[in-house]
Symmetry: C2
Subunit: 468 residues, 2 copies
């Protein structure tokens, strides 16, 4: 480890020097003119929308391990070829399959109601006949964590905290702990099942699924999310100070080993063919909707950006690698498999970005690059500002699928999308094509064209080995 760190440092020194030399005349006038023209052309181009429509219509739901997963992998190979990618490969990704079963919830007393419920990903099943228990209500996960086991024992816990709406989606991080942790915390205190208010900003009867923490060695219970209106109903009912009794049936379960695939399309570079600008999206989706904003739109944006660059500017110095990652949703399985497969080749991964925050307009660029790369970033910003994009900062973390590469030292960027409405639909049956504004999608492509082309058409390195 120590010797490889030294090697990285040496690499860094050489790259920093290179960047410094290039400062002032980073790109040819011709290339800058072509990039600007393509940026503007992309604003009127519908390729990303057509790709997104194709994936959501011809495949639809594609939970890792489901029949849709294999269809999506076949679709992606076909689509890369149709778009003229130079090299299309699939990479096996082993995972343990989680399968959704039936999901129903009903208040039995004091006032019978059917509730809209969905199982949290990776949770355990109730008995086939369901289970029945009295609700115990907590306003927050912290309240549940602080509760006496004697209060919780034998009961169904209910956490009712509501996610806040913000452009940058920052309400998610504050609220999502309830989803991640309630099954294990409830089990530890002797509860028999857990429900939470959906981690979402909408008022639709479309509950939000999403992964819960799971570890075979740690006790857990069946856990589901009810929709926001159903959570409101329960809260109102609980105010009446009578026991609220729920029947819950969630037959989702772990279901054996499965091999999915990352699908990788390369537009090969010229002078640095084996140096990669890694962009992409995740190919899997939750199973309730057609995975349009999570994450078909990200696939449409990044596949279209690479295709448009190749078609209108031509091959650049470095290779543009578009990775459609497998099983982001309940395991980051594709990201881990890729990192493992590339472990002797990590330093060839020059700069990475993932589009995985819906289809809203991009309002900011964030980076995590060497200080010496800032002249290039500044040059990118010159072309991004006319799209309404400002520079954020150099502490970006990019998408979830890039975590292993970033932790290994790869430089990353993040084109930050307006997420004001993202959590209205995220992980619900409502994640469908109609939620995407084609104009906003095109603006995304224009921005990805700029960053990707400029990152690929330089021999500069963006600083491998940056500390977290």
């Amino acid at each position: 480890m120590h010797s490889s760190k030294i090697m990285w440092l040496l690499l860094l020194v050489s790259h920093f020097t290179q960047a410094h030399q290039a400062d002032g005349s980073l790109y040819s006038d011709d290339f800058l003119k072509q990039t600007k023209a393509l940026r503007d052309r992309a604003l009127d181009d519908d390729l990303a929308y057509r790709i997104t429509e194709s994936l959501t219509t011809e495949v639809g739901a594609r939970l890792a391990g489901s029949p849709g997963d294999a269809k999506a992998v076949a679709w992606a190979q076909e689509k890369f070829k149709e778009l003229g990618f130079d090299r299309v490969v699939i990479e096996p990704v082993k995972l343990t399959r989680w399968t959704r079963g039936e999901e129903t919830a009903a208040v039995i007393a004091p006032y019978p109601h059917q509730l809209a419920v969905t199982a949290l990903g990776r949770t355990l099943p109730t008995p086939e006949s369901g289970l029945t228990g009295e609700l115990i209500h907590f306003n927050t996960l912290a309240e549940l964590e602080a509760a006496e086991p004697s209060e919780v024992k034998g009961k169904i816990t209910f956490i009712s905290n509501r996610m806040e709406r913000h452009q940058d989606g920052s309400g998610y991080g504050k609220a999502v702990g309830a989803r991640s942790k309630t099954a294990q915390v409830t089990a530890a205190k002797g509860g028999i099942a857990a429900i939470i208010r959906s981690i979402g900003t909408d008022d639709n009867r479309t509950p939000h699924t999403g992964a819960a923490q799971y570890d075979e060695a740690i006790a857990s219970v069946p856990a589901g999310a009810v929709s926001n209106p159903d959570a409101d109903l329960l809260v109102n009912m609980l105010k009446r100070d009578q026991p609220v009794v729920l029947n819950l049936k969630l037959t989702s379960h772990w279901d054996g080993e499965y091999t999915s695939h990352n699908v990788i399309g390369d537009m090969l570079g010229t002078s640095q063919k084996e140096q990669f600008i890694v962009i992409g999206c995740h190919l899997d989706s939750w199973d309730l909707g057609t995975g349009a904003i999570d994450d078909a739109s990200g696939c449409g944006i990044t596949m279209a950006a690479a295709k448009l660059i190749n078609e209108h500017i031509g091959p650049l110095k470095k290779t543009i690698r578009v990775v459609l990652w497998a099983n982001e949703e309940y395991g980051l399985s594709g990201a881990k498999a890729y990192h493992q497969a590339q472990k002797n080749n990590l330093t060839n991964h020059i700069l990475g970005g993932e589009s995985d925050f819906g289809a809203g307009e991009i309002y900011a660029l964030g980076t995590r690059v060497a200080a010496e790369s800032m002249p290039i970033i500044n040059q990118m910003m010159t072309l991004l500002r006319p799209l309404g994009i400002k520079y954020s900062n150099n502490q970006s973390s990019s998408g979830a699928d890039l975590i292993p590469l970033r932790q290994a030292g790869m430089a990353v960027f993040s084109l930050r999308q307006d997420g004001t409405d993202y959590f209205d639909y995220h992980h619900t049956a409502n994640d469908t094509l109609d939620k995407i504004d084609p104009k906003a999608l095109a603006q995304n492509v224009a921005a990805w064209v700029v960053v990707t082309a400029m990152a690929a058409n330089t021999e500069h390195d963006f600083g491998f080995g940056l500390k977290e």
Copy 2:
């Protein structure tokens, strides 16, 4: 019939004279001051919201003939008593019960998808195992009506027209024919089932139910509505010019005779105790949501208005009758039963209004009254304008439950609500309490207080026997 018409004419003459005499000094200053004060008080009052919350929480879904129906009748009697109504009666309403069963729809080819579907009210069941057929697509009901039977025979019809959004809900009338008629038109042409795009303005995976025309003597087929996103998906799929094959399972069915009840609460008048200002809502709801905007809010508004008048102004000259109508949704059963029961007493029904268009702010008053009643209407308008309400016209038709009384000759009014969002939620699982803005609901109560109090506190008749 002829002699009773003459009697009505004589009555009209006497009432017109009365109105003319009262002109210029229609109400005492004290009463006007009290009404104004109560109007303003109502804007800060939450009684209507509390009633609406109570019905949607303690009863919830209450489709005519379902367990919720009987619970709602019991709830209503109790609530009227709690609010201090002078006379509470229930009136039997016989109906043939329609019951929703399972409902699933799936595209089998070319691209498998699960669809969000709901049965249209009063339609026939598919076999228990479902039925499978190729889709035939029509953009409008008119296109289906014009189709050759040979095109439709053996197929599942699909009408994809989309409802327009307007403040006054006028898009509904233009679009709803597809829902009303497709089952019978499809059957007449040899189709095996029918699906339509939901009659709704939203983009949620919450399909809109609602009644279809039904007559035992006319052939029909199972019929359902898919959500707007699902309809979009089908339209996109159909563009690919491959047969689209659907499996449809809708086990809803007619289910024998049932006796529901209108629930009637009277705040008794003084000098004209047996003359009625008839206000109200319908007590039943569709079964997918909790019937909050359709029509618990109407019950909250009108029950609260009568209660506030009685509490803060006291008994008025005429009786304020609040009718919670049974089975509006698939039969107008309560409206017909009341009309039948009151057939010798119709002329005592002086003026009627129903609140059945959600919970949006009121923006206009419409009427259907004798020309001689306009001074009173003008006086009402003086108190309504500060609420942002304008006068519409004298061709109002009021709510569906008043059709039999209006056709018999009763004068009516309509306090028109902003329906811009109404058809996002109407007849869906999304019709829940969170869709109601308490401030808008209070504005409704303020307006109903003004019209109801001023109509009840005069010996004027509003012109029974007006021609349609």
